[in-house]
């Protein structure tokens, strides 16, 4: 017999795995994936509670969680892409310029290995390049 506590246990395990992954991983995408996994644990909780109480509240919560998670993923992945373009690595430890004065940079004993990649593909140009006059920055 599968009771509500079984579902809650799965939810708790997913949430904890996500939290541990978030705290220990160094790859930006995997870190964010772990944070999203925390949300999935919560979604399981809500659906289980919804079934338990026999109302739709939990289902509604879950729908909103999925929508919000998509928004967050959208903005985070766009940011990661622009960060990757700057440093050519997804290692989070290269981003520590902002820190308390007088504290040294944390260095990894085992740096994240990254496979050297080709440069971004350059698309063949088509049509006439639009004229974009340089403007002073003003509104």
């Amino acid at each position: 017999m599968i009771t509500i506590s079984h579902y809650l246990a799965v939810g708790a395990v997913l949430f904890t795995l996500g939290l541990i992954g978030f705290l220990t991983r160094r790859n930006l995408i995997v870190m964010f994936l772990s944070a999203e996994m925390m949300l999935q644990g919560v979604a399981i909780n809500f659906v289980a509670f919804s079934r338990h109480h026999g109302n739709m509240h939990g289902q509604v919560f879950t729908l909103f969680i999925i929508a919000v998670a998509a928004c967050e993923a959208g903005i985070a992945l766009a940011l990661f892409l622009s960060l990757y373009r700057k440093k050519r690595t997804l290692d989070v430890s290269v981003w520590q310029d902002l820190r308390e004065a007088g504290i040294d940079e944390t260095t990894d004993a085992q740096p994240l290995t990254t496979t050297p990649e080709d440069a971004d593909p350059i698309l063949t140009k088509a049509g006439i390049a639009p004229k974009r006059p340089l403007e002073e920055t003003n509104v």
Partner: protein, 526 residues
């Protein structure tokens, strides 16, 4: 299980009234696609977007001021999702007033250029809608959605200085910590909503006070996790580490938004959560109060100690924000309606002085390209206007008498003192000790903070530097904004009555407990 016809009919019947109370948010919602369409359809040269955004915010502010509300309690709207009351309304007005000042400031300091002005205003207005929903949330689902609606545009704002590495790093740190914090908060919401079988906070409060003795351990854990999420938004101590880094990397204008608007709405939400989930006279109330007081005290002390020895002015202001958040949190230790007037007063004063300080930083940055503290050396000679207004803001942040900061701090101290006295003879004597301790800590901290606030003033007036530097000019609009803010700081410091009366009006939102008590009586009868 599903809404029946009668429920739907009630919802439709209330819809007109609900929408009329929601007009300010609706106007802002409409402004966002309107701005984006304007940029799409017309050249931004022919139609400047800032006046459009300003006009929309101004209209929203007028509608917010004209909202018709009952004096006691509030109006429950949208099937129990939102509670529009005077407390929420006063914070919403403060948020709109902030936007009204921040949009022209952004234009004058040239943060958005012609191309992305629409993005900047859209993000600011979008985040403000989220913040406004936070102030009036009454359902746990609304709490979550509002927090996310405020956070997601803030992430983008933190990284708004495209191409600047520190700005990208700030956005990265904010996004990653923010995602984890919202996950944690959501887990708390799932536990609380699951245990009580509903997300409606009024009902949860009823069930908590009905239980009288103790809520289940899982629900208590859920409440703690929810407060963890709020503490992240407030940058309180165990979750404060993102704040200095994000403030250093992001533009000063964005820092002002995160420190003023975001803090104000988070405090309003924290007040509501403590009011509903804290319970009264239940065993976990005391535990929550002690925990909250400790966090508030540590936050204030930590912020003030860490602000010493900072070399970057935005980083220093970030720690000062943390310290002020701690002081504002102290008023909420045991939440009742008496905490509202000092809180509202503090939010309004903080709006003027902190936005002013960040505005000066932005003007100095535009001319010198530096945000280090030593840029301020000898500023009095280079630009008397900037130096004088910065002095007013710094002294107000410190809390010196004729200024707004003093009035706000005095009311918080008076609130703490009054509570220390009030609980002395009650059954819960520990609260008296708690409040006495907080009062002493707040006093010591105010003395401590003099070190770095006065340090800035000393730099501007006494340290002239070796060589004479070129004078700095402030645009005319900048002078207007600075004088409005300085005027606000002085006015709020001199005339306490108008705003205090507003605060007392706002406090009446919490003075009736009829719904809670009715529910309690109902459940006892059954």
């Amino acid at each position: 299980m599903f809404p029946i016809a009668a429920t739907l009919e009630r919802l439709t019947a209330d819809l007109t009234r609900d929408l009329s109370l929601f007009i300010p948010e609706l106007i802002l919602c409409g402004t966002i696609p309107f701005l984006l369409l304007l940029r799409l359809l017309f050249s931004t040269k022919t139609i400047p977007l800032a006046p459009v955004a300003l006009a929309a915010v101004g209209t929203a502010l007028v509608f917010a001021l004209r909202t018709d509300l009952p004096t006691h309690g509030g109006t429950v709207t949208f099937g129990g999702m939102l509670l529009i009351d005077r407390f929420g309304l006063s914070v919403r007005v403060a948020l709109l007033a902030y936007l009204l000042l921040a949009i022209p400031l952004g234009v004058l300091t040239k943060i958005p250029d012609r191309e992305d002005a629409a993005d900047f205003f859209t993000l600011m207005i979008g985040a403000t809608i989220g913040l406004m929903l936070m102030t009036s949330a009454r359902h746990l689902l609304m709490v979550f959605i509002a927090v996310e609606m405020a956070s997601v545009p803030s992430y983008a704002l933190a990284g708004f200085l495209k191409g600047r590495r520190p700005s990208s790093e700030a956005a990265l740190k904010y996004v990653v910590f923010g995602a984890a914090a919202s996950g944690t908060m959501l887990y708390g919401i799932s536990l609380v909503a699951g245990t009580f079988g509903t997300g409606d906070m009024e009902e949860i409060a009823g069930q908590i006070s009905y239980s009288r003795t103790q809520i289940s351990l899982s629900a208590f854990a859920g409440v703690l996790l929810i407060f963890g999420g709020i503490l992240f938004k407030l940058s309180a101590v165990p979750f404060h580490f993102w704040c200095p880094d994000v403030f250093t990397g992001a533009a000063a204008e964005v820092g002002a938004f995160l420190s003023v608007a975001s803090k104000a709405a988070s405090l309003a939400l924290a007040a509501r959560l403590i009011y509903y989930l804290g319970g009264t006279g239940v065993s976990h109330t005391n535990a929550l109060a002690v925990l909250w007081a400790i966090i508030a005290g540590v936050t204030m002390t930590w912020g003030n100690l860490a602000a010493f020895g900072q070399t970057n002015v935005k980083r220093m202001l970030a720690y000062s924000t943390i310290a002020h958040a701690g002081l504002m949190m102290m008023t909420l230790t045991v939440f009742d309606y008496r905490a509202v007037p000092p809180l509202v007063y503090y939010i309004a004063s903080y709006l003027c002085m902190n936005l002013g300080a960040f505005a000066v930083v932005a003007f100095v940055r535009n001319q010198t390209g530096s945000e280090e503290l030593d840029t301020f050396d000898g500023l009095a000679k280079r630009s008397p206007v900037l130096a004088l207004s910065m002095t007013v803001f710094m002294l107000s942040l410190l809390g010196l008498p004729p200024l707004a900061g003093f009035a706000a701090k005095f009311q918080v101290f008076a609130h703490l003192f009054e509570n220390a006295h009030r609980y002395q003879h009650g059954e819960i004597g520990v609260f008296s000790w708690l409040y006495t301790g907080l009062l002493a800590l707040a006093a010591i901290n105010t003395a401590l903070s003099a070190g770095y606030y006065l340090g800035v003033v000393r730099r501007m007036f006494l340290d002239t530097g070796e060589e004479a530097k070129a004078p700095l000019s402030v645009p005319f609009g900048g002078r207007v904004i600075l004088s409005v803010l300085v005027g606000g700081v002085i006015a709020l410091g001199g005339w306490w009555n108008p705003l205090t009366e507003q605060g007392i009006m706002a406090a009446k939102s919490f003075q009736h407990k009829s719904a809670k008590q009715k529910r309690l009586e109902m459940s006892q009868e059954q």
